[in-house]
Amino acid sequence: MMFAAAILAVLAALILTVVRALKGPTVFDRLLAANSIGTGAILLLALFGFMTGRPEFLDIGLLYALLNVIGTLAVLKFFRYGSLGHGGEEETEA
């Protein structure tokens, strides 16, 4: 029961975050919302696992947490350099 209440709160927050991701004026707003959706998905997975008495969902949540930051940084790097295959050579040649 207590997990259901927390799940409802996280779901409402996720709906609001999706609204921002859809209408955000800049790409950074959308990325911020995407990052927040990732965190919300992790918490939702954990809460759902606890509610149904199967905490094995936590492993999936851990994987999501690791993928979330990689995704955000990859998209940021793409928008900064125009490609993902850009190493650190800018630091040395400048």
Binding site: A9, A13, S36, L62, L76, F79, A94
Partner: protein, 134 residues
């Protein structure tokens, strides 16, 4: 899975508080005027909300491997959230996106570029002189 009235009560309190803070972060994401203030609002939900929710779940799980995994997730969230937000703010500033600042009459205007600009051209060897290939 749990035992004791007070454990359940404390768990309720933590879970409701965590859900509340996560919701507040999402509302702030919609209400704030520009991307920098929105980052500020989201970080509330991502640190305090996630922390309280995980604490509430850990109380229900007791001292088991499940609790270890829960706190591992929390550790990952707490370390990667600020890193992602920092990278996001840096990228936004480099993209010539400036924070909004209230002027004397209280209206929000775009801030002074000289005061907020990134200062990494002052460091030798780390200049960003060349334009980005967009």
């Amino acid at each position: 899975m749990s035992a004791g009235f007070f454990t359940d009560l404390l768990s309720w309190l933590l879970l409701v508080a965590g859900g509340f803070f996560f919701l507040v972060g999402a509302i702030g994401l919609n209400r704030m005027p520009d991307v920098f203030t929105r980052m500020h609002a989201v970080s509330v939900g991502d640190t305090l909300g996630a922390g309280l929710l995980v604490a509430g779940m850990a109380l229900q799980a007791g001292p088991t491997l499940v609790t270890v995994k829960l706190f591992l997730i929390l550790l990952v969230i707490w370390f990667t959230g600020p890193v992602a937000t920092h990278a996001l703010a840096r990228a936004a500033l480099q993209d010539k996106l400036l924070p909004l600042i209230a002027n004397r009459s209280g209206k929000l205007v775009e801030g002074d570029p000289d005061k907020i600009a990134l200062k990494d051209s002052s460091k030798p060897g780390k200049g960003r002189a060349q334009p980005s290939k967009r």
